[in-house]
Symmetry: C2
Subunit: 246 residues, 2 copies
DNA sequence: GAGTGGTCTAGACCACGAC
DNA sequence: TCGTGGTCTAGACCACTCT
């Protein structure tokens, strides 16, 4: 019976604890993004539990987006959100068709500064810690479409602060992984409506006070830490998003 | 082995077929909204399968929103989407706080007409079939906030066409269930931006060409049929929506 | 053919909720 | 106390993928 009390003291079922244990091993880098973890049967044997119990643990991590299962091949650590996820909120129509490609990226500015109180809270940083702030313009068919302000905590993103932004990729999230070892696992985006100020309008080649959609994003890594704050503005008339309820 | 071939011919696993069988029984009204279905053990026995297999079937229907499980009580047929689901896209701030109540509803017009080609397709109606079209204004604190155009297929919604719209409830979906036996199980909402025309602006007490959010909704019943088409307009500055990615 | 995840069985016991 | 869903076991066999 003491086993059961212990289970309960830890606040979860056996498969819940197994899921936590496996998650910890993934976070510690025992298996990297895109790599397979051991087979169900091997895990069940090594933890001394039934197959069904391990399967429930894996199901939790799959639902959470940490693992992906492929029938006949194995169970793999996620490679994270791809860098084009902002495009799900917009449908830009260029002069030609098939403009649903990945936008080109141009870094307008990059600087270090002290984190605000809000940023310290979001990133769990000590007061006065440094962050990297980027301004970025994304274009389709040489036409500007999205203007972004991105804040990244240091020292996690130090490799980016030390490199030339002209050499950066069009997609940031895969680059975060390659250069800083940061895997973006999920984002939370809050959408609202606003108007462009003079600077923003000029960069997007739109009129001052043109209506825009404001996307305020928090991006989280595989450990659930917030590792990016991003504000994106785009033409309100190019906004199109479909939501399922229930 | 022929059993297996049959299984495969029907294109799914045993628990998949069980889920379909149970869904059919629910659609036929064997158990109404909010009512419990038989216990897992009883279902397993009556279908001659193991408990785990029935549990997988039920899990499918739970994921689909058709069933809800309550530990210690039973498994229940869903009561559907509540009628305030449109409010998830807006945050109206009235003069006082705590304005997150359900908006009051006023039916501006109600008329029968022939369905358009698109409506016939969405509702699976024969060409020239009749639909009920409603215009509706929703208000918080006596201030208009949402303007809606709603199209409902006949004869399904005949009871509404025959009744006085002054007696209708503020929430339509529960009323659909009570008066027409229609349970709204899920909706698909496509969001975009537009501007108010003169009529719309007057009804929402806003300026002509004021920016608005356009929500184009398809609502589906428990059988997966589209049973409502709705277009909702609201002040773009009251738009606020949070989406999770991955 | 070997190894992976997917399906299925026939039990046991636990935790929750109502009477 | 009883009936419900939730957890767990120790197997068996099937389906997919690669070599």
């Amino acid at each position: 019976m003491s086993t059961h009390v212990t289970d309960h003291a830890l606040g979860q079922s056996r498969y819940g604890k197994l899921a936590q244990a496996l998650r910890d091993r993934i976070l510690q880098g025992e298996w990297g993004p895109g790599e397979p973890i051991p087979a169900e049967s091997a895990l069940a044997q090594s933890y001394g539990v039934a197959l069904g119990t391990i399967r429930q643990a894996l199901a939790l991590l799959v639902e959470d987006g940490v693992l992906q299962r492929r029938h006949g091949k194995g169970t793999f650590v996620t490679t994270g959100v791809d860098g084009a996820s902002m495009m799900r909120f917009f449908r830009f129509r260029g002069p030609d068709e098939a403009s649903s490609r990945t936008p080109a990226s141009r870094i307008l500015s990059s600087r270090l500064r002290s984190a605000s109180v809000q940023e310290c809270h979001a990133f769990q940083l000590a007061p006065g810690a440094q962050v990297l702030q980027l301004e970025r313009l994304r274009s389709l068919n040489a036409e500007p479409c999205l203007l972004e302000s991105i804040v990244l905590p240091l020292p996690l993103f130090g490799p980016l602060a030390d490199s030339d932004s002209q050499t950066w990729d069009d997609l940031l999230y895969p680059m975060y992984q390659q250069r800083c070892g940061v895997v973006i696992q999920k984002t939370q985006d809050t959408l609202s409506f606003s108007q462009l100020n003079a600077t923003q309008a000029k960069r997007l080649k739109l009129a001052v006070a043109h209506p825009c959609v404001l996307v305020e994003r928090q991006a989280f890594d595989i450990a659930g830490r917030c590792v990016e704050l991003r504000t994106t503005r785009g033409d309100a008339y190019s906004f199109k998003y479909t939501a399922q309820v229930q």
